[in-house]
C-alpha cells in the first residue's frame, strides 16, 4: 500500500469567511459553489423555490439568491441570518477547498471561532456600502475588526480581504484603495504581516473567478485563482531543531501478542522515527521507538499531522492524556503558570480564581485564571492595560491573562506549537466550553 505522508500542498485548503452581517459572505460562497459547479441540480431548484419567497433586501429581480445556499437551519431561514458555521466543499482542477461560512452577528462569534480554529486562511469580507467615504479616513466596522483579531490570534496562515459590493460604488478604484489603507492599519496593530485585498462583487461575480471589464483596473488576482495559489506551510513556526510531540489518545494491545502495547495519537511539530529516543510526560520514563504504524500500514517515519500508533522497545507506563516527547526529559521544559490569550466564548463571564477544567492535548486538569493583564480594545485594535483591563470578561472578549494549571505541563508558545500551545477552558458546572486559550 502507498505510504506517502500527506503534504500541505495536497491537502484541502480550509478558509473561513468572516465579516459583519450582510457583508455578503453567504452570497460569495454561493457564487463560488455556483461558478465551480459544486451545486447539484436539485439544490439549485430548491434554491430557485426559496429565492421566490425569502429574498434578501439587495438581491436583484430574477436573480437567484445565492446566499440561501448556505443558511441551513430553520431559524436561520426564518430570520434571514446565519447562526452557526456551515461547512461547504468544492474543488477546482487545482485544489480542494473546505469553506467555513461563519455567522456575522456578534452574539455568534463563538461559532466563528470554531470555524477559524480549523482554517488556514481568513477571507475577510468588507461591505463598501456600509462604509462612510465622506471622511478622510475610512473606519471599518467593529465586527470586521473583531473577526480579523480572532483570526490573527488563532494564527491563520493567510489573510485575504474581499472588498465586496464594488458594483454598488461603480468599482471606484480610489475608494477601494482607501479601504485597503484602513485595513492596513488594522493589520499592523494586530501584527498581521501580510494580506491581499481584492475588489469584487459576490452578487454579479466580478473578481471572484476572474476580473471583468469593470474591475480591469485592478492589477492583482481574482479571489479563486488567489486561493488556488496560496502556499500552505504546516510546519509554520517550528524550527529545524523542533522535536516530535504526540498527545496520547488511546493505548491498545496487539491482537497477535497481548504483551505488546501500542500508543496512539497525532504527530506534532516534527517527524517521529523508528529508533528515536523518547521520554514520557508525566512519568519521565524513557524508551526507544521500536515500530510505527499509520493508516497506510507499517512505516519507519511519521510526519506532523499523521495519526500514528507507536510501539516502544520496552514496557512503559503510559495512558491517555500523557505526552510522548522526542529527546530526553530535559528537552521539553514543564511550566505550571503561563501568560495566555483567552478568547472568551461562554455567556457566563469569567470568574477570577475559580476552578475551571482545562483540556491541553488529551489531558483534562483543573486550572484557574489569576489575573487579567490587558484586553483588546476593538476601536483602536490595541491591547490596553490599566483600569479597563480588569473589568468583567464577557463573551467575545479577547484578553491576556495569567493562568495557573493544577500541574506543570509541557507548554509551548502557541506561535511555535499549536499542539502544545492551545487549550480550552471548560465550565465544570455546565460543561460549556468557556474559552479558547493560546499560550504566549
Amino acid at each position: 500500500m502507498s505510504n506517502t505522508p500527506h503534504s500541505a500542498a495536497s491537502r484541502p485548503l480550509r478558509f473561513i469567511t468572516c465579516g459583519s452581517v450582510d457583508d455578503g459572505k453567504s452570497t460569495l460562497i454561493g457564487r463560488l459553489l455556483y461558478d465551480s459547479k459544486a451545486l447539484m441540480i436539485d439544490q439549485l431548484e430548491s434554491l430557485a423555490n426559496s429565492s421566490k419567497t425569502a429574498r434578501g433586501p439587495q438581491s436583484k429581480e430574477g436573480q437567484l439568491d445565492l446566499s440561501l445556499v448556505t443558511d441551513g437551519l430553520e431559524a436561520e431561514r426564518e430570520q434571514g441570518i446565519t447562526i452557526d458555521v456551515a461547512y461547504r466543499y468544492f474543488a477546482t482542477p487545482k485544489r480542494k477547498f473546505i469553506i467555513a461560512d461563519a455567522p456575522g452577528h456578534e452574539q455568534y462569534t463563538r461559532n466563528m471561532v470554531t470555524g477559524a480554529s480549523k482554517s488556514d486562511v481568513a477571507v475577510v469580507l468588507i461591505d463598501v456600502m456600509k462604509l462612510d467615504f465622506s471622511q478622510p479616513a475610512v473606519t471599518l466596522l467593529p465586527q470586521t475588526k473583531r473577526h480579523t483579531a480572532f483570526a490573527a490570534l488563532l494564527g491563520l496562515q493567510h489573510t485575504v480581504v474581499a472588498v465586496n459590493k464594488m458594483d454598488a460604488i461603480d468599482f471606484d478604484a480610489s475608494r477601494f484603495e482607501r479601504v485597503v489603507t484602513a485595513f492596513g492599519e488594522l493589520a499592523a496593530s494586530l501584527k498581521i504581516k501580510h494580506f491581499t485585498a481584492i475588489p469584487l462583487s459576490a452578487l454579479d461575480g466580478d473578481g471572484v473567478v476572474a476580473h471583468t471589464a469593470r474591475s480591469a483596473w485592478f492589477q492583482g488576482p481574482a479571489l479563486l485563482p488567489h486561493l488556488e495559489s496560496l502556499v500552505l506551510d504546516d510546519a509554520h513556526g517550528t524550527s529545524a531543531t523542533a522535536k516530535a510531540h504526540v498527545a496520547v489518545q488511546w493505548v491498545t494491545r496487539d491482537v497477535s501478542d497481548d504483551h505488546l502495547r501500542w500508543v496512539t495519537g497525532d504527530v506534532a511539530e516534527a517527524a517521529i522515527k523508528v529508533g528515536d529516543a523518547i521520554s514520557v510526560f508525566p512519568s519521565g520514563a524513557t524508551a526507544v521507538v521500536a515500530a510505527l504504524r499509520t493508516g497506510r500500514g507499517d512505516t519507519t517515519t511519521a510526519e506532523p499531522g499523521e495519526a500514528v500508533a507507536i510501539r516502544f522497545d520496552r514496557q512503559v507506563d503510559i495512558a491517555r492524556g500523557d505526552w510522548i516527547m522526542a529527546g530526553s526529559v530535559s528537552d521539553t521544559p514543564l511550566t505550571q503558570r503561563a501568560s495566555a490569550t483567552l478568547a472568551w466564548l461562554d455567556n457566563a463571564p469569567l470568574t477570577l480564581g475559580r476552578r475551571y477544567i482545562v483540556r491541553h492535548g488529551a489531558r483534562w486538569l483543573p486550572a484557574r485564571v489569576s489575573a487579567i493583564s490587558s484586553r483588546l480594545d476593538l476601536a483602536s485594535a490595541e491591547w490596553q492595560t490599566g483600569d479597563g483591563a480588569g473589568a468583567e470578561v464577557k463573551a467575545n472578549d479577547l484578553v491576556r491573562a495569567e493562568i495557573e494549571f493544577a500541574q506543570a505541563l509541557p507548554l509551548a508558545a502557541f506561535a511555535e506549537s499549536a499542539a502544545r500551545g492551545a487549550f480550552v477552558l471548560v465550565d465544570p458546572g455546565t460543561n460549556a466550553t468557556a474559552a479558547a486559550g493560546m499560550i504566549q
Binding site: 502507498s2 506517502t4 500527506h6 500542498a9 495536497s10 491537502r11 484541502p12 461558478d35 459547479k37 447539484m40 441540480i41 436539485d42 439544490q43 439549485l44 430548491s46 430557485a48 426559496s50 437567484l64 443558511d71 441551513g72 437551519l73 430553520e74 431559524a75 447562526i83 452557526d84 458555521v85 456551515a86 461547512y87 461547504r88 474543488a91 477546482t92 482542477p93 480542494k96 463563538r110 461559532n111 470554531t114 480549523k118 489518545q249 488511546w250 491498545t252 496487539d254 491482537v255 497477535s256 501500542w262 496512539t264 495519537g265 504504524r293 493508516g295 497506510r296 499531522g305 495519526a307 500508533a309 491541553h360 488529551a362 499549536a418 492551545a422 480550552v424 460543561n431 466550553t433 479558547a436
Partner: protein
C-alpha cells in the same frame, strides 16, 4: 434562460480525481477522531447501517484500532424492511471481522407500543429515531459514531464533529458547543451522549475514491443489477412486497444501483451500469442530482425535514 439551464450551460471546472495525499489527510483526520472516541468515552459504539458511509467509518475504525482489536460494538437499527442483500452482507461482515453486533429492532419498539404505525406498510424511516434512542438508553452508550457527511445536506453542514445530545437525545442547533482545534470538549452529564462524525469533511467523491483505493466491500445492491421498478415522480421505485405497484402503473426491469441503503419503503435506485467503485466514480463526477435528493423520497418533503429529525435525535 431558466436557472437550471444557466447552471447546465456554465463552463465546468469541476475536478475529476482525488489525490492519494488528499485521501490520506482525510483518513488521518478520521482516525484521530475515532481514537478520541476509543480513549475518551466509557461506552461508545458505531452505528452501522451497512451503507457505504458507515462501512467506510467501520474500515477507518479498524485502522484506528490496529494492530489492536476494535474496542467497541457495532449497532444496527433494523427497520424490518430491509433489502435482503443488506442483511446477508451484515452477517458476512460480522463473521469476517468477528464484530460485536447489537441490533435494535423497530419491531420491538412496535411490540412495546413506543412506535405506533399509522398503517402496516407505512415508511418506517421516521420511526428509526425512537428505536435508536431506546437502543442508546438500553445499552447506556455515551458516544455513537456515525457516517454522516457535511456535504449531504444543509442541517448536517452545520453540525459539529462531536455533537452533543441531551438526555432525550435531542440536538440543539442553536446551542452547539464551540469546537476548537482538535481539543474536543467531550464532557457530559449523566444520561447525555455524543454523536460523533469522523467523516464530516468527506464528499461523496472522496468516499468512492477511498472505497476503490482500499477495496472496501459493499452490499451488492451498490453496483449494477437488474431490478423491477416503477417510474414515479421522476424516481425509480423498486417493486417489493412493501412497495407494490399502484393501479395503472407499469412494472419495468432496469439496470440500476443504489446510492444509499435504507428502509425499503423509501429508498430508490438510480439507473446505472456501474459494476465497480471506479465506474461509480465516473458516474458520480457527472452526477447532476445530489445524493439524497435523487434517492430518498422522505427528504424531498421539505428543506427543514432533516433538521427537525436531528433535533428529535436522528443521526
Amino acid at each position: 434562460m431558466t436557472a437550471r439551464d444557466a447552471f447546465l450551460s456554465a463552463p465546468t471546472i469541476t475536478q475529476t480525481s482525488v489525490s492519494n495525499d488528499h485521501l490520506n489527510w482525510l483518513e488521518d483526520e478520521a482516525i484521530s477522531i475515532l481514537r478520541e472516541v476509543f480513549g475518551g468515552f466509557e461506552r461508545p459504539a458505531i452505528l452501522c447501517s451497512c451503507g457505504k458511509d458507515s462501512l467506510v467509518v467501520l474500515h477507518l475504525a479498524m485502522k484506528a484500532a490496529a494492530p489492536g482489536k476494535l474496542p467497541l460494538p457495532i449497532v444496527h437499527i433494523d427497520t424490518g424492511h430491509n433489502f435482503p442483500e443488506v442483511i446477508t452482507f451484515r452477517e458476512h461482515l460480522v463473521k469476517k471481522h468477528g464484530l460485536n453486533l447489537i441490533i435494535g429492532h423497530l419491531d420491538d419498539s412496535i411490540k412495546k407500543g413506543t412506535i405506533r404505525l399509522a398503517h402496516e406498510l407505512e415508511s418506517r424511516n421516521p420511526y428509526q429515531t425512537i428505536t435508536l434512542l431506546e437502543t442508546i438508553e438500553g445499552n447506556r452508550f455515551d458516544a455513537m459514531v456515525g457516517g454522516a457527511r457535511r456535504d449531504e445536506e444543509k442541517a448536517r453542514a452545520k453540525e459539529r464533529v462531536f455533537s452533543h445530545r441531551d438526555s432525550f437525545g435531542q440536538w440543539q442547533p442553536r446551542a452547539q458547543r464551540p469546537e476548537l482545534w482538535n481539543l474536543y470538549n467531550t464532557r457530559i452529564a449523566q444520561g447525555e451522549n455524543f454523536r460523533v462524525f469522523p467523516i464530516s469533511n468527506w464528499t461523496e467523491l472522496d468516499i468512492w475514491n477511498y472505497i476503490a483505493r482500499e477495496d472496501i466491500e459493499l452490499p451488492s445492491i451498490y453496483y449494477t443489477h437488474q431490478r423491477e421498478v416503477i417510474e414515479r415522480n421522476g424516481l425509480l421505485v423498486p417493486v417489493t412486497e412493501i412497495t407494490p405497484p399502484r393501479a395503472g402503473e407499469t412494472v419495468i426491469t432496469r439496470d440500476v444501483r443504489f446510492r444509499t441503503v435504507g428502509d425499503i419503503s423509501c429508498t430508490c435506485p438510480v439507473a446505472s451500469t456501474a459494476s465497480s467503485a471506479d465506474e461509480v466514480i465516473l458516474e458520480t463526477i457527472t452526477a447532476t442530482a445530489s445524493e439524497r435528493g435523487a434517492t430518498r423520497m422522505d427528504d424531498r418533503a421539505n428543506d427543514a425535514a432533516m433538521e427537525r429529525r436531528k433535533k428529535e435525535g436522528y443521526f
